[in-house]
């Protein structure tokens, strides 16, 4: 039966948001995750600072190098580490958001109050996003503070703008994983199953996506090599498939923002003369933002679409205990 319902779907949103955010921020789970992220990220940043101090004056973007440098003995940079850990934090914050309420038998009690399901689901999602944002902003400020203290130099305005853009991209990336975990918490009644499913998706995108792309691309775009060499259709299809992964979108966004010399993302077709005339100079910050705009909107769109799917499934569920 279909019927137009009266009343605001946002009634109770603030109450749900405040309660869920308080739960997250005071939970042992969140503290453990924060501790893990802070410890590893700060270690990589601290190690990078030690390396950078030896080469001060060689780069105009010292603070950005702080985030992108892979210092010995670590095999990854600060952003590489965040790209690895943020999905785990997102999943941990939402894998039991809805099924946990089912299992505690609190869902029917909460939804018997004058609120719509919209407010509950959105409140839980926004609370997760808020908690993630608080943790990331704290980490961001901590790294900047550490840089100020140990490098003895303030970041330039351009560096601050780029780092802010990086922060926004990281939050959007975390939001995607939060939405994925929320979706599975709606689909599966057992939190362990939901967590496992979300971790499975994370593993697919982190470890197997390149391999999957190599299998799928020839099926949709034909062989990689043509008579005259590499086929542009193949390259384009490979790029599109690769960018279906939030990891790729995030990696490209951070690369363009934090490595200002990045002038293009994906394959660039230029003549030899054009290549010779290209300067290795950094792009202006506005140009870097234009460069990552599709990736950033892709992450945001992915987050919204996955949340919308979770919303549709949640609306159709029977809530009775």
């Amino acid at each position: 039966m279909q019927s137009h319902r009266r009343g605001s779907p946002w009634t109770g949103l603030g109450t749900v948001l405040a309660k869920e955010a308080a739960d997250h921020l005071s939970s042992a789970r969140m503290r453990i995750l924060e501790g893990l992220v802070f410890l590893t990220a700060l270690y990589s940043a601290f190690s990078a600072i030690r390396s950078i101090r030896a080469t001060i004056g060689e780069s105009p973007f010292l603070f950005l190098r702080l985030l992108t440098m892979e210092p010995d003995p670590l095999p990854f940079s600060f952003i590489g580490l965040l790209g690895f850990l943020i999905p785990l934090v997102g999943i941990a914050l939402a894998f039991d958001a809805i099924n946990g309420e089912f299992n505690r038998r609190t869902l029917s009690r909460v939804l018997a109050q004058p609120i719509y399901r919209d407010a509950l689901l959105l409140g839980k999602f926004l609370a997760g996003l808020l908690s993630l944002t608080i943790a990331l902003v704290s980490l961001w400020l901590l790294v900047i503070g550490l840089g100020l203290l140990l490098l003895g130099l303030p970041p330039s305005t351009e560096e601050m703008i780029r780092m802010l853009g990086f922060l926004v991209a990281t939050i959007a990336y975390g939001g995607v994983w939060l939405a994925i975990a929320l979706l599975f918490s709606v689909l599966f009644r057992a939190p362990a199953t939901a967590a496992l499913a979300a971790l499975g998706v994370w593993l697919v995108f982190s470890l197997f996506w390149t391999f999957i792309g190599q299998i799928v691309t020839p099926l949709v775009a034909g062989p990689a090599e043509g008579v005259l060499g590499p086929r542009i259709e193949y390259i384009n299809a490979a790029e599109v498939i690769d960018r279906l992964s939030p990891n790729t979108l995030y990696a490209e966004s951070t690369q363009a923002l934090l490595q200002p010399t990045t002038r293009a993302l994906g394959p660039v077709l230029v003549t030899l003369n054009e290549a010779r005339s290209m300067l290795p100079a950094p792009l202006p910050v506005t140009q870097s933002f234009i460069l990552i705009w599709p990736q950033l909107t892709g992450l945001l769109a992915g987050m919204i679409v996955i949340f919308a799917i979770a919303y549709v499934f949640f609306q159709r569920q029977e809530i009775r205990a």
Partner: protein, 263 residues
């Protein structure tokens, strides 16, 4: 369904004058709900649990403060209001659920098998609290398989058969429909001919020997005077007592007849 927790396939209902499909928020503002096994946030205190749902229900902080202590005292949990719910027994949780309804002060309270997990003593206390809710002017919709409890609390009863209301009305009305009487008396009298005498009274539709020279008679109307007039001259009448018709009996008879009809 009345609270929008499940979608109806057809039909229409009004709760306190509002359609749950079109005005679910208005309905929920006026309805309190207690499921059979209520859940609370274990890591939160009773107060925080109730304050959360009260805020969702639109109560102000001041209203919450005012109503919380009164509600908790009324269900006998005043001394453990600040304790975490994880320390509560199932009975205490059910009481806390009732306190939530009391805080909300709804027009209608929907109680779904509220005594399922309670021991006999707690059940009696809980039924008394439900009567108190009724006395406050709240319409109580009680769903239960414990028909004796239903009979002790409810003014009107509806029996469901395959998801449809088969019978509804007061227990006396249901007894009238199913048992053929509705006015039930226990007659105590000495004498071998008492059963015949009682059966011969016009309006007596059913006679049942209870043992010890006591007989239960189902009548179409209040026939106490007629029974006394007919028994007294021919047997030794000791007394005639009111006997409320049993909902269990109504239920058993109704479904036995349904089974017989199907067979």
């Amino acid at each position: 369904m009345l609270l929008g927790l499940t979608e109806p396939t057809s039909g229409r209902a009004l709760v306190a004058g509002f359609d749950p499909l079109r005005d679910p928020l208005e309905v929920k503002r006026r309805v309190g709900y207690l499921p059979d096994q209520i859940g609370f946030y274990e890591n939160m205190s009773a107060r925080d649990n109730l304050a959360y749902t009260a805020r969702l229900a639109g109560l102000t902080r001041r209203e919450i403060d005012e109503r919380f202590a009164a509600a908790l005292n009324r269900v006998g949990l005043g001394h453990v209001g600040s304790s975490r719910v994880t320390t509560y027994s199932q009975g205490m949780r059910q009481r806390l659920g009732l306190a939530e309804i009391l805080m909300k002060r709804p027009s209608v309270a929907v109680l779904d098998e509220p005594t399922t997990a309670l021991d006999p003593h707690s059940t009696q206390e809980f039924l008394e609290m439900i009567r108190g809710l009724k006395a406050d002017g709240t319409a109580v919709l009680l769903s239960s398989h414990h028909l004796d409890q239903v009979q002790s609390v409810c003014d009107r009863v509806a029996l469901f058969n395959h998801g449809r209301i088969a019978l509804s009305g007061s227990v006396t009305e249901l007894a009238g429909q199913v048992l053929g009487g509705g006015h039930v008396f226990d007659v105590e009298a000495h004498g071998d001919n008492v059963p015949e005498l009682l059966s011969a009274v016009p309006g007596v539709v059913r006679l049942q020997a209870l043992g010890g020279e006591r007989y239960r008679v189902d009548c179409q109307s209040d026939l106490r005077a007629e029974i006394a007039r007919r028994i007294a001259p021919k047997a030794e009448l000791v007394g005639i007592y009111f006997a409320a018709p049993s909902l269990n009996e109504v239920y058993a008879r109704y479904f036995a007849e349904v089974r017989d009809a199907v067979a």
